[in-house]
Symmetry: C2
């Protein structure tokens, strides 16, 4: 691994307080791998070999059962995933795939558990990370269950607008079928929801979304920190 990348990792909250020898022990056997979009990274039901960290790109956590599939969470850098399975040394409950091209840092699971037992600072950092991830899943769950699909889209537009500078012009960074999957609906439904939001302050054309009436959109989406973070 390159030095610049090691420094990047070192500065993550998760590793920042770890003692130098423990950090070296963790990273000397680490892999930093690049994956194209739409590649399976892990599969539910398998015991974890590595702790994964999204360094670049975005990753979808999902589960399947009897031919059905559901998205659990979408991860943006820089986030760990399947930390809970690694710590408890139990099988993954979800699968993961890359949505875009990604770089994933992989730390051997066994070493993570060892350092976790030896280094109190690391243990505390793990708790914080885990607590954060926990809250993120709860938010995702609430978003799914307490909003209709069109409300999720409306809330997503508001959030994307904030992240892109709040100009009222939002550009899609992925294709619409991926967005539909992120928002927990079919592409057909996403299409219908875009036209529906015309009644609530949105004009959209291709991958350009314009917020023409922010107040109307807000009153339809009901954004809240208890869901949207």
């Amino acid at each position: 691994m390159r030095l610049s990348e090691l420094n990047l990792i070192r500065n993550l909250p998760l590793f920042h307080e770890v003692t130098e020898p423990q950090f070296e022990y963790l990273t000397e056997a680490a892999l930093l791998q690049r994956f194209p979009a739409r590649v399976d990274l892990i599969s539910e039901g398998v015991l974890p070999d590595f702790l994964h960290i999204v360094v670049d790109g975005s990753v979808e956590l999902f589960s399947t059962h009897e031919g059905r599939e559901t998205t659990i969470d979408i991860l943006q850098p820089i986030t760990t995933f399947i930390l809970a399975a690694v710590i408890r040394d139990e099988v993954y409950l979800k699968s993961a795939r890359s949505l875009t091209e990604t770089r994933i840092l992989m730390l051997p699971a066994e070493r993570v558990r060892e350092v976790f037992s030896r280094d109190a600072a690391f243990a505390r950092a793990v708790v914080n990370e885990l607590a954060m991830r926990y809250r993120s899943v709860v938010r995702a769950l609430k978003n799914e269950k307490l909003r209709t699909s069109s409300e999720r889209l409306a809330a997503w537009i508001l959030k994307a607008n904030d992240q892109q500078g709040g100009t009222g012009h939002v550009a899609l960074t992925c294709d619409k079928r991926t967005l539909a999957s992120q928002l927990g609906m079919t592409p057909e439904n996403l299409s219908r929801n875009f036209s529906l939001l015309a009644k609530h302050g949105i004009r959209s054309n291709g991958r350009e979304i314009v917020i023409e009436n922010r107040a109307a959109l807000v009153s339809y989406a009901h954004p809240t920190s208890l869901i949207d973070g």
Copy 2:
């Protein structure tokens, strides 16, 4: 608090390895409170004052938004709840209410965070607890999103049967509206699902459920450790 109760707490995985002085510091300001059924215990959006532990009875975690409500998880003893919010000192993302009469142990949040920083064994125990809770929510989410309501009922019957000794006779321990809420459906829908399961090996009458054809029920419910634990 009674000595017997202190010992009970002491033997929880979460506290078992904590040093004696730290344990005393945690528990000397603790409250063990009894609540009747259907009482609000905490409300989302509020900063945590206490870490709560279900000692007795069962507790529902739920969220509301714009007049809607959804169940996130049902807790049985002995489990902590809102641990993530306490550790991060951030507002609750969910509310909690007692489903039955309950006893709740409440530890001052500030002291939990202090001991968490000072006592490595406690920090490690917290991680394990948190990881377990995380996995539990993921399972609940999968159960909701990957199964129809009648499949959830079928899977629940199989699990309840196992817990009650596997005799093929299951007795309801709560009223049906509570069961409906646990399974994420309306009481009307639960009623319909019970009659529907007649086609899949179930005969039920009042609060007596009989599994007449286990194979048929299994092939309908598709139980799996990746959801049912």
